[in-house]
Amino acid sequence: MKIKNQNTLPSKYVLLILVVVCGILLGAERFMDGGGPLSWIANYTIVPMQRGISYVGTWMSDLTDNFATLSDLRKENEQLQERVDQLTIDNTRLSQEQYELERLQELYKLDQNYGDYEKVGAHVIANNGTNWFSSFTIDKGSEDGIRKDMNVLAGSGLAGIVTEVGPNYAQVRAVIDDESNISGMVLSTSDLCVVRGDLTLMEDGRIRFENLPNNDNEIQVGEQVVTSHISSTYLQGLFIGYISEINVDSNNLTRSGYITPAVDFSNLQEVLVITTTKAELTEADGSEDGGE
């Protein structure tokens, strides 16, 4: 008891000290990328535990899936077979067109291929615990070659962008997050728009798009929106989602509306990280141009 009394600092001052520490941390954020040494500590304490829990969870959900009945599986198999046939036909047609496109591109000297980015698979091991933001943690980090601003795909669509990297984990901000802001493009007309996440729409699983020019191009509900060529952090041509509603703004110059994302964020387990960033791509192009 005696020892305790000797170093008693009034709690007012302790509060003051902690508040100052927080202030310093808030200021230091500008100079220190991410959590600095703290993210390193988190990497070896919290992240392994989150990984463990998430693996147990996956294992358990796999176990419940095993009880799906045989007839259901047969039916699904039939449907999938039909789908495969259909897709094979489509694929043959498309690959013919692809050859034609390549030939024409060669003629026009447009040999950039945006479709084939190198990807790395990763598991989602934890979510953002607050109700305000929508981000998730993946189990690959800088040691696996993940860097900030890399784009993350899930299934066929864009899921988000890497915002923070630790040695063995990375934080990904989802497309539906309130702070997410993407330059998008309507695939059929090549009109540019701004796609932004919105907390008020998160519940319906939708995102908003804005500033689509109100020109003669008719855009229908159900058309695809992809990332645009002018975005500085997102690679071109990544599929964001389908337009679910479109309205002309009151200024009569622009159109806005809603997009249904291609990714189901409520049940995200595996993602693909594209290991090329837009900055690298544009730099490489720049140096090539400079060389010529």
Partner: protein, 172 residues
Amino acid sequence: MKRKIITACFIIVCFLLQSTVFSKLQFASVRPNLMIVLTSAFGFMRGRKTGMAVGFSCGLLMDVCWGSVLGFYTLILTVIGYLNGSFKRLFFDEDIKLPLGLIAGSELAYGLTVYVCLFMMRGDFHFGYYLTHVIMPELVYTILVTIVLYQVILHVNRKLEAEEQRSASRFV
């Protein structure tokens, strides 16, 4: 020492639960805020300093793993821990009204601060929507979870206190 280790375990377990298990247990697409429950409960049970320490560590964890700026949640939770610590004199084991009231108050203060700092400052004035769709549901769900979690914390606290008293009387 034992108390510190147990408190740290509480923080880590609650943090892990919130970022993994509770994302599957969402009601109306909100999850409860266990960090607030811990900070607040340790605050009014053990006083200002413990409240601040718990708030600081919870906040730091949140900042590193979920936040975009380091120090933001830390600041909020430290202050919440301190303020809850001021109610230590009014706290009795048997009474559940004060803990529930304090945790609800802390939760509301947390929600409002996050809204004002991270949303209103960006020009987002849908306050009514956020109040009815995020802040209030989170509060209600947190209170529901509190009723269970608080009993656990209270039980552990009682045991530790009894043990400390025994060892203290032995050395007198």
